[in-house]
Symmetry: C2
Subunit: 165 residues, 2 copies
């Protein structure tokens, strides 16, 4: 399955906000637009998503690799002091977005299911924001260096060219 | 969310085998290893997965882009005659694998849920095979040109280099 895209999941609000890295994120419905994310019950984020029933899928670029690494390997809101990210208000939910990210997708939880050692949270997309020029004519601008996870310490990004069938 | 990795979903057996392209595929549990795939009820594959309760997540390379395009835009098993792929027996299930693919992940359906306009099928990984050298030391070999979907007619692949945090 790997390499898989890596995202940051923002949860919580006010003084208690956490950010974790997640590869296990996908779209599951077009209308309505639903996103599924698999989160281990061991993660601090798990509790915050359950408490507040919302989360942000934030889209980091390669430039944010160090922040992604901290988000993926450390636990709890205290990691935020080690990260170089700026929280900013989301448009439609109370969970904040990340200013430096390429995009932020705001979700309200509509379902959750236990599968194996993870909980699969289903969120309805209720708002979004993105950096200028990141998505033009309905396609991602590959100059923005979208990040993917290859294996534990190895990350990759995409070539800056499109292939057409 | 895009670019997202593109996979081929193989379903059916014997004389009735279908292959569709799918971007909405992710891992949802580590132990046991579970994969979730979102499939529209409009797709022929939907019926075959429901009938046989198994599917293969096949991993195409950039070289298979024309096949991926046919798999994604045409409906039903008749498309296989237009594709340049070779079906081969899977190791643990009756649904076949694709010889040209980088890897084939064999899944048995353990759950399905309706979410919006798609059905989310959850499969337990019961077998897999891959091309020699595609995954060494637990990491993907980026020379294999894993395929991702950027927008409708635009596909991308990864740079052949790793970045470390």
């Amino acid at each position: 399955m790997y390499p898989m895209r890596t995202y940051l999941i923002v949860s919580g609000k006010g003084d208690e906000v956490d950010v974790m890295a997640a590869d296990w994120v996908t779209i599951i419905s077009h209308k309505p637009l639903l996103i599924g994310v698999s989160i281990s019950p061991k993660r601090y984020t798990h509790r915050l998503v359950r408490t507040h029933n919302e989360f942000v899928v934030s889209v980091p670029s390669l430039d944010m690799l160090k922040d992604v690494w901290i988000a993926g390997t450390k636990s709890g809101p205290s990691k935020l002091s080690e990260m170089n990210i700026t929280l900013m208000p989301s448009l439609r939910i109370e969970t904040p977005s990340i200013k430096e990210s390429i995009a932020n997708i705001e979700c309200k939880v509509i379902d959750e299911r236990e599968y194996g050692d993870h909980t699969f949270f289903v969120g309805k997309v209720v708002g979004w924001s993105h950096q200028k020029g990141a998505f033009e004519n309905d396609k991602p601008n590959m100059k923005f260096k979208f990040l993917a996870h290859a294996s534990w310490t190895n990350f990759v990004t995409f070539e800056n060219r499109f292939y057409n069938p």
